[in-house]
Each structure stands twice: as structure tokens, then as C-alpha cells.
């Protein structure tokens, strides 16, 4: 559906292809923008590469593996301790002393490809590097090898290297072949990681049945949490809630998890799927391959969090668990209500713009409502149709949506809709501030965790601090403009 003239962004007059990425929401007949397609070169996109999706988002949180980047040092450096995907697994820094940062963020390991490798191939180098890394970084649960543009273009046969190394070290060695150029956005990398990890994990389980859970080890309420990356320790609140419900969490894909637990995930009774953009793939694969169903979940906000607990209790069907779910929900709401009421009072009627990868837009639409705020417009870097369907369903009628926004569109939208706050990532937030718009980091948070009932207070506080920081009154002092 064409959007009314007043929503046509001026900055795109000369690149009208962009207009098909803009829609107004409709809850009855969802308007889906053109999405998950190539970016226009030179349009100042905010998108990253497939490798970033594979290594940064999905693989990065894995806690106990050596993650070796088969590339020049650059690609590896950029992935080194950047995202706040935290973990409690720490390597030893010396006898009796653990490292200062969790294992997944502590080091950058790379083959450091050189010109001669580009000409003659880098497979041999990769093999040596894996074996050396194994001796230099002892105790790891496995090795993950990532390809990037350079190794992807050289065309090294990394799978046979992985097989050899796996035999040598006796732990899983998986290859994630998702070079930067191989997809339209990070999203391709999520997909690749899911499928490739799943296939190799299944193969490994078949070859090493001892890594699977034995029948007698399995419990009736075993669940795995899928698509949860432990930003700023969200898991601090997520895990205990399910445990209080009576479930046992046998693995998290992938936030802070160990390889041995990742391999056990197919042995769960139920998967609880949080990030439905990056991890529906593996949930479907496990559902088909192992007949483990999954429930879709959002861990943000009161209503959505309550729904997950109820859905899980309903799945297991025990009356006791259902009752417990209600108790937990009732109690948690009480625990946070003074704080949430405080913020609701101060945030009511404020207007917020949202820009995230994709799912968090619809995860957070309800949260904003629960805080009494209005969504002025929303943007997604790599959402697909299903994300936009959900966004349409949850939005106020006629909310402006932009797929794969570029820098200029962000500026124009801030100017046009004048939100009181913009939820956005690190690259964009400094631009917003130059325009006088406060921000909250929607990827790595300001001072999280933001998940679950208790985390929502942190989220509300950061939004409140964003809007009410004294600095903004100086910005608008007419004398100094």
C-alpha cells in the first residue's frame, strides 16, 4: 500500500527504490515493507555483514570455545570483546587466578592471513593455527572456525581441516562458513550459524553418543532456552524464573553456554525461543529432527513475560505448575510495581522512536505501552516478513515503519517525528545526540539487565534518565544557539 505524501521522506527523492521499505502499520491487514533484500550501495546503511551475524551475534556468546577467525587480523580484531554478551565462564590467567573478562570476550584468535596465503591458500595455516591455539588456550570445550571474506574468496577447504583437528584434540571442531559478502545483512549469518551448527552437532552426537543425555539423566521438565544471548546478564533473571516454575534448564543457545550443553539441547522436552529472528531456524530443525517442540517467547515486559510462563506451564500441563506460574507472576508484579509506577508516572505520554535489528521492535512495543509511552516510529536493520507481521499486529494503527534505514533517513525521521527518546545502537546514538535527541542503547543496554520483570525496572530507569538528564535543557538555551 502506498503511503500518504506526508510520510514520504525527502532524503529519498533521489533514491526512490527506498520507498518500498517504508510502510504504515495496519493491524488487520499487515503492511509488509520490502525487506531482507540487498542494500542500495552508497545509501549509508547501518547494516553489518553476515560474519558479524554468525560470529558476533549467535556464536559470540558461547562461553567455553576457542573461536578462531580465519582471516586477516582485521575481521578478528573487530569481534574482540565488543558486544556485551556476558558469560560466567572464565579461562585461567595463571595458577589460582581467573581472567578479568569472560572467555568469550577475552581473546581474539586469528590465522592472520597474509598476501602469500591469499595466493597459495590458507588451509595448512588454519590447521596449524587450530592446533596451536589448542595448546595455548587450554581447557576449551571445542573450537569454532569462522570464515570471512578473505578466506571465503580463497576457497580453503576448512571442513577437512576441522575433521583433522577434531580427531587430534578429541573435542568438537565446527566450521561456520558465513563470509561477510554472502548475504544481505547480519541475518544471513544468523541463519548460516544455526544450520551449520545444527548439522555438525547432530553429526557429532551420532559419532559420539556419550555426549547426549542418557535416558536416566533426562527430567520431565527439561527445557532449553534458544535465541538468548545474555546481554548485560539478562540470564540472571531469566533462568531463575523458569526454575521457580519447576523446569530444569539444560542449555541456552547460546548465551554464555558450554559446548557440552549445547550438544545436549536436542534432549530437552521443550525449547523456549526468545530471539525469533536469529534462532527460529535451529528451533525448527530441532523440532523436525528430534521432535522437540518450541514455544515462542518474549522476555521483555510484564504481559509478555507472564505469557511465557503461562505457555510453558500449559505445555507441561501440570496443574501445579500452572498454579505456580500464577503465583510467580503475581509476586513479580508486586516486586516491581512501586518502581514501575514511579517511572510510568514520569514517562506517560512521552514519545519514543525505536531502531533495532528487528525483533526487539515488537518485543518492546508492549513494554513502551506498559510504561505509558507512545511509539513515534520504528526501524529494523534486518527484519523479515514475519517480524513485520508481528510489528503490525502490536503497533498502534498507522505507525511509520522503515526497513533497513540509512543514516539520512534516521536524521529525517528524528526531525520529522521529534521523539523524546530514541532507542538505538552504538553507531547511531552519537548522531542522534548531535541532533539533540537522547538515546538508550538498544543492543547492549546502558545499565542492564533489561529482561523479565525485575530487569524492566532497569530499562525504565535508563529511559527516564535519557529523557530527564539535565543536559538537554542547556542544549536548547536560545542565548547560545
Amino acid at each position: 500500500m502506498a503511503i500518504p505524501e506526508k510520510y514520504r521522506l525527502k532524503c529519498d527523492f533521489t533514491i526512490p527504490e527506498r520507498y518500498k521499505h517504508h510502510v504504515l502499520t495496519d493491524s488487520k491487514k499487515p503492511n509488509i515493507p520490502a525487506c531482507n533484500i540487498k542494500t542500495l550501495p552508497g545509501d549509508m546503511t547501518e547494516r553489518g555483514c553476515a560474519f558479524a551475524g554468525a560470529r558476533g551475534v549467535v556464536g559470540g556468546p558461547i562461553g567455553d570455545c576457542i573461536q578462531i577467525i580465519h582471516s586477516p587480523a582485521g575481521c578478528a580484531w573487530y569481534q574482540w570483546g565488543t558486544r556485551r554478551n556476558l558469560s560466567d565462564i572464565y579461562a585461567w590467567s595463571g595458577p589460582g587466578r581467573l581472567c578479568n573478562d569472560s572467555n568469550n570476550r577475552r581473546r581474539a584468535v586469528t590465522t592472520d592471513l597474509q598476501a602469500k596465503d591469499v595466493v597459495f591458500g590458507g588451509a595448512k595455516k588454519l590447521e596449524e593455527a587450530c592446533l596451536e591455539a589448542w595448546r595455548l588456550l587450554p581447557g576449551a570445550g571445542g573450537i569454532l572456525i569462522y570464515l570471512t571474506c578473505t578466506s571465503g574468496l580463497i576457497g580453503d577447504d576448512c571442513s577437512s581441516v576441522a575433521e583433522k583437528v577434531e580427531k587430534e584434540i578429541g573435542k568438537p571442531v565446527f566450521v561456520i562458513d558465513s563470509p561477510g559478502f554472502c548475504g544481505v545483512s547480519q541475518s544471513t549469518g544468523h541463519h548460516h550459524f544455526n544450520v551449520q551448527f545444527y548439522n555438525q552437532a547432530v553429526k557429532y552426537r551420532e559419532a559420539h553418543p556419550e555426549v547426549c543425555m542418557k535416558e536416566e539423566e533426562k527430567g520431565p521438565y527439561d527445557i532449553a532456552i534458544i535465541g538468548e544471548f545474555n546481554m548485560d546478564w539478562d540470564l540472571v533473571y531469566i533462568k531463575p524464573l523458569f526454575e521457580k516454575l519447576g523446569c530444569r534448564i539444560i542449555g541456552v543457545f547460546t548465551g554464555g553456554e558450554r559446548m557440552e550443553n549445547l550438544l545436549k539441547i536436542p534432549d530437552a522436552k521443550l525449547n523456549v525461543l526468545h530471539c525469533q529472528r536469529s534462532c527460529t531456524y535451529i528451533s525448527d530443525l530441532i523440532a523436525n529432527g528430534f521432535e522437540v517442540p518450541y514455544v515462542k517467547a518474549s522476555f521483555f515486559g510484564k504481559e509478555q513475560m507472564a505469557k511465557v510462563l503461562r505457555d510453558v506451564a500449559d505445555f507441561f500441563g501440570s496443574a501445579e505448575m500452572k498454579e505456580r506460574a500464577e503465583q510467580i507472576i503475581g509476586h513479580e508484579l508486586e516486586v516491581i510495581s512501586p518502581a514501575i509506577d514511579f517511572y510510568r508516572e514520569r514517562l506517560a505520554g512521552k514519545r519514543v522512536g525505536m531502531y533495532v535489528g528487528g525483533p526487539r521492535v515488537w518485543h518492546w512495543q508492549k513494554v513502551m505501552k506498559e510504561l505509558g509511552m507512545k511509539v513515534a516510529f520504528s526501524m529494523c536493520t534486518f527484519a523479515h516478513e514475519d517480524d513485520y507481521e508481528k510489528i503490525n499486529a502490536r503497533a498502534e494503527e498507522g505507525e511509520f515503519i522503515v526497513d533497513n534505514p540509512n543514516e539520512f533517513e534516521i536524521e529525517e525521521c528524528l526531525d520529522k517525528f521529534k521523539p523524546d527518546l530514541f532507542l538505538t545502537g552504538l553507531k547511531e546514538k552519537y548522531l542522534c545526540r548531535k541532533l539533540g535527541v537522547p538515546t538508550v542503547n538498544s543492543h547492549s543496554y546502558e545499565k542492564g539487565p533489561y529482561a523479565c520483570f525485575r530487569g524492566m525496572v532497569n530499562f525504565a530507569r535508563d529511559i527516564y534518565q535519557g529523557i530527564y538528564a539535565p543536559v538537554w535543557k542547556f542544549v536548547r538555551d536560545k542565548t547560545f544557539i
Binding site: M44, T150, R454
Partner: protein, 502 residues
């Protein structure tokens, strides 16, 4: 509820979830106690035989990033310039992320958005379309076309494609459009060198494209290298005191440290940066100073060869000796006397050194960073009577080794020098030695905590503290600031409070 003392009042996961009420302020990460799980039950020592970089293939914790990043850094310092990166999106998004992390500023960089088909057919279409889309919306004064690993491997003919792109632009928008934007092509395959070399190549590429000889001026050229906006301001201050006019290349002081002032024009362009006309004028200057030999030396050498402009290449004017060289060279090249204010500033630094040497002398220091800064910091530590015992450069450099040895020789020291090694090797030396202080960037923060050796932050990158990019380390006043940092860190870590009252 009681919390055990060993947790410093922090809440365990269990306590957190048992709290009967969440306070208005919420509970943040720093208030939580997360019990660390060791990766394996017992410490296992890394294989000592392959700890030296030279004995292995794998690189762990590289102290260098990719070549295009250096070229982007340089280009971002040009007024009205947007780099256009000929590669897949990551090679642009990651550097932008890195810039923003360090400078806390927006940085506009365009990408050619390579896809799978580009890998097969090459990036011709991406460049032609991409430049069009960029120019028609942003009207940049300069576009720096930066190649990356992928475009170099594919073998994109950048010069040829650019011509095609210009023809297409002229056809669509008329001949005036070609006047509007100037282009500089910088080839930066990362598998041939690091960010240091990227900046170096950018210096040469920009000057080759822009600098012209018209009428000689009385100016000096400054090629700063990857120093901070604060450093560049300090250089300008020195030139002002000496009454010398300068053309400063890649002036990030006006692009990567900008005021928040409304209203802001759209699209956002920072006010500052080196103007095209100033780059053109660099062919007329009396002398070129490349402050960092490995980052910009190539530009100075180019001007020397092409326009016979004498070049002074390094050392970074940090500390007494190095700044003295810079000031003397400036005075000599321009015939200006050394300003009295400068002598005062030097005097103040020396006064501070005289006041503090009891704290600094004998302090064993480990240094890691980019070659030019690491070498200069080494010498300054020597001047303070400290003992640099372990000096590492992430990027290999002959000049670095030469400069460090020269200082070591003068001060009678025999440091371990790691040239182009990774931080893993440096860290191992450090943890095995008795070191009092580290001078390094944010990447040394973990090592500092693990080895219980305090860290003074300097160099690239610093993203885990604020303000460092606004400060100057160069010049006498920069030395003063660095000295204060060093001494205060020593006082914090080495001296009991009752010992520092007089």
C-alpha cells in the same frame, strides 16, 4: 537479608531473585555478584614452546587492525569527506563502530554493500551505483574510495570503474557534478599491512591527488598520524606560539571531537577537517613534518620527491627530547625564534619532572601500542628515570626498533623488544616479569587487572574511559599531562596514603 562480606555487598543471583522489592534505581550489573566458573577445573599452563610469536602461526590478541581502518581514519579528518568502502558491509560497519566507541562521535562512511554476486562478477556495478547514490544525497566535497581485502582479491579495477562512474554521473546530472566532488583512491588490502600502513597510504594518496605547486607559501605541512584530536590542537597551539602558519593534513580535531549545538544541518557533517584547498596548498609549503614516521611518513616523502619540500619524519613530539627536536626543526625551517612561552611550557614540564622523579625513578614499565607512539612513550619513560623493560608494537616497524634502541642505549637499558608481536606474547612476558606499570591502550586493561599492574592509558584504541581523545600527549603540555597520569597512577598503586601527604 544478609550478604556475605566477600561479595562486597553485591547480590548473588539467588539474592537478586529473592528481593521482595526492586528499588526505584533498579539493580544494575555492577551490584551483582556473578560467580566465575573456571573453563576447566585446574590451571593448565600454555605450551611455553610456542608462546613467542615467531614460533607459531596462530595470532592471539593482535595489536593491530585492518589497513582500511587507517585509511578511513585519515579520510574522516578531511573536511566534507565521506569514505566509500569498496567491500562488503562489515568492513564499513565495524570501523564505524570502532570510531564511535573511541571518539563517541558519529562517523559517516558509505559501503559498496558487496553480495555473493559481487564476489563472482566484481564490484563495478556497486561502485558506480554507490557513488551515484552517495553524491546525489550527500554532495560530499571529497570521496575517499577505500578498497578492502575482498575488492583487492577480486581485482576490482578501481581507477577504471571510477572513470565509468564519473561518466555516468555526468550523463545523469550534467557536467557540474564533476566539479562538486573530488575523488581519492586508496588501496588497502588488509593482508598486506595494518591500520598503520593504511594511514600511511592514505597520506600519500591524498597528497598525490590533491597537492599542487603554485606559489610558495610560508607554511609548514603537518601530517599528524593517528594521534588524538587533543594532540592536533596542541600542535596548532605550538604553531600559534611560534607564529607559524600550518597546513594540517587529516585534522580530526574538528571532525572527531565536535560540539553539540543546535540546530544541526541535515545530513550531519562535522564542521572541521582539512579543507581541499589546504591540501592543494601543501605542495607550496616550506617543510613537511610527519609526526608519526610509520603513519604519514610516506606522504612527507612523496612531497619531498615531487615538490622538493624537505621532510622531517618523526619522532612523535612526545616527551622532552622528541618535542625539543620538533621545536628546533620548526624554528630552523621557518627562521622563527623559539617563543618565550614555549620555553616556559618546557620549563613547567621540567619543573614537574624535578618534583616527581623520586616517584618515577626505577619504576619498571611495560609498553604496548602502535610503533610510533610506543617508541616515543619509551623515551619519555626513560626521561622520567623509569625503566622500560618490555616494549611491544602490534605492527612491525624497523623505525620502532631503531628508536627504542636509541633511547635504551642512551639510558643504559636492555629492554625486551617485541616487534610486530601479538599481545598474547607481550602478556606472557609481562606476567612473568616484575613490572610496576603498564603504558598501553584499552586492550591492555585485562592484562593489567590480571597481573595486578596498574595501567596508564595511551595510544589507540582507548574506548573504556572517557576524555582521553580530547587530551594532548604531544608537546610539553602533553608531556605534563602524561607525567601527571603516570605519577598519580604510581601514587595510587605504590604508595600508602600516609606517605603522600608531603
Amino acid at each position: 537479608m544478609t550478604t556475605p562480606l566477600k561479595l562486597n555487598g553485591r547480590l548473588t543471583i539467588k539474592d537478586l531473585n529473592a528481593l521482595p522489592e526492586i528499588p526505584i534505581e533498579g539493580i544494575t550489573y555492577d551490584q551483582m555478584y556473578i560467580e566465575k566458573q573456571p573453563i576447566c577445573p585446574e590451571y593448565i599452563a600454555p605450551d611455553p614452546n610456542i608462546i613467542p610469536s615467531s614460533k607459531r602461526t596462530v595470532v592471539i590478541d593482535p595489536g593491530r587492525i585492518c589497513m582500511p581502518f587507517g585509511a578511513m581514519w585519515a579520510s574522516v579528518g578531511v573536511h566534507g569527506c565521506i569514505p566509500f568502502v569498496q567491500g562488503a558491509q562489515g568492513c564499513t560497519t565495524y570501523p564505524r563502530y570502532t570510531f564511535s566507541r573511541i571518539f563517541r562521535e558519529p562517523v559517516s562512511i558509505a559501503t559498496a554493500s558487496f553480495q555473493e554476486d559481487t564476489a563472482v562478477f566484481g564490484g563495478r556495478k556497486n561502485l558506480i551505483e554507490g557513488l551515484r547514490n552517495l553524491i546525489i544525497r550527500y554532495h560530499p566535497e571529497v570521496i575517499a574510495i577505500v578498497t578492502v581485502c575482498s575488492s583487492e582479491i577480486i581485482g576490482d579495477d578501481m581507477e577504471g570503474y571510477l572513470e565509468e562512474a564519473q561518466d555516468a554521473l555526468e550523463e545523469e546530472l550534467g557536467p557540474d557534478v564533476l566539479e562538486e566532488t573530488q575523488f581519492v583512491i586508496i588501496h588497502t588490502p588488509s593482508f598486506e599491512g595494518s591500520h598503520v600502513e593504511g594511514y600511511n597510504r592514505a597520506a600519500k594518496a591524498f597528497l598525490k591527488t590533491m597537492a599542487r605547486r603554485t606559489t610558495p607559501n610560508n607554511k609548514v605541512n603537518i601530517i599528524p598520524g593517528m594521534i588524538t584530536p587533543g594532540d592536533i590542537r596542541e600542535i596548532k597551539h605550538i604553531l600559534r606560539l611560534m607564529d607559524i602558519e600550518g597546513n594540517i593534513l587529516f585534522d580530526i580535531s574538528g571532525t572527531l571531537d565536535c560540539p553539540l549545538r543546535l540546530p544541526q544541518a541535515m545530513p550531519y557533517y562535522p564542521k572541521g577537517g582539512t579543507k581541499a584547498e589546504d591540501m592543494k596548498d601543501m605542495g607550496n609549503s616550506m617543510m613537511t613534518f610527519a609526526l608519526c614516521p610509520d603513519e604519514g611518513g610516506a606522504g612527507a616523502r612523496y612531497l619531498e620527491k615531487r615538490f622538493k619540500i624537505p621532510a622531517a619524519i618523526g619522532p612523535v613530539p612526545l616527551g622532552i627530547h622528541n618535542t625539543d627536536i620538533f621545536i628546533k626543526d620548526l624554528a630552523e625551517a621557518t627562521g622563527r625564534p623559539i617563543a618565550d612561552e614555549i620555553k616556559d611550557e618546557r620549563g613547567i614540564l621540567i619543573d614537574a619532572m624535578a618534583d616527581t622523579f623520586h616517584y618515577t625513578m626505577g619504576i619498571r614499565v611495560a609498553i604496548y601500542g602502535d610503533p610510533d607512539i610506543a617508541a616515543a612513550a619509551t623515551r619519555f619513560c626513560c626521561e622520567l628515570g623509569m625503566e622500560p623493560v618490555l616494549i611491544g608494537s602490534g605492527t612491525e616497524s624497523k623505525q620502532f626498533v631503531k628508536d627504542v634502541w636509541a633511547a635504551a642505549h642512551e639510558y643504559n637499558l636492555k629492554p625486551t623488544i617485541l616487534n610486530g608481536s601479538d599481545m598474547f606474547e607481550w602478556e606472557d612476558y609481562l606476567k612473568k616479569d616484575k613490572i610496576d606499570l603498564i603504558l598501553g591502550n584499552s586492550k591492555a586493561a585485562n592484562v593489567s587487572k590480571e597481573a595486578d599492574v596498574p595501567l596508564v592509558r595511551i595510544g589507540f584504541p582507548i574506548y573504556d574511559r572517557v576524555g582521553y581523545q580530547r587530551r594532548a600527549y604531544v608537546g610539553y603540555r602533553g608531556g605534563e599531562y602524561l607525567l601527571d597520569l603516570i605519577v598519580n597512577t604510581i601514587l595510587d598503586s605504590k604508595f600508602p596514603d600516609d606517605r603522600v601527604h608531603q
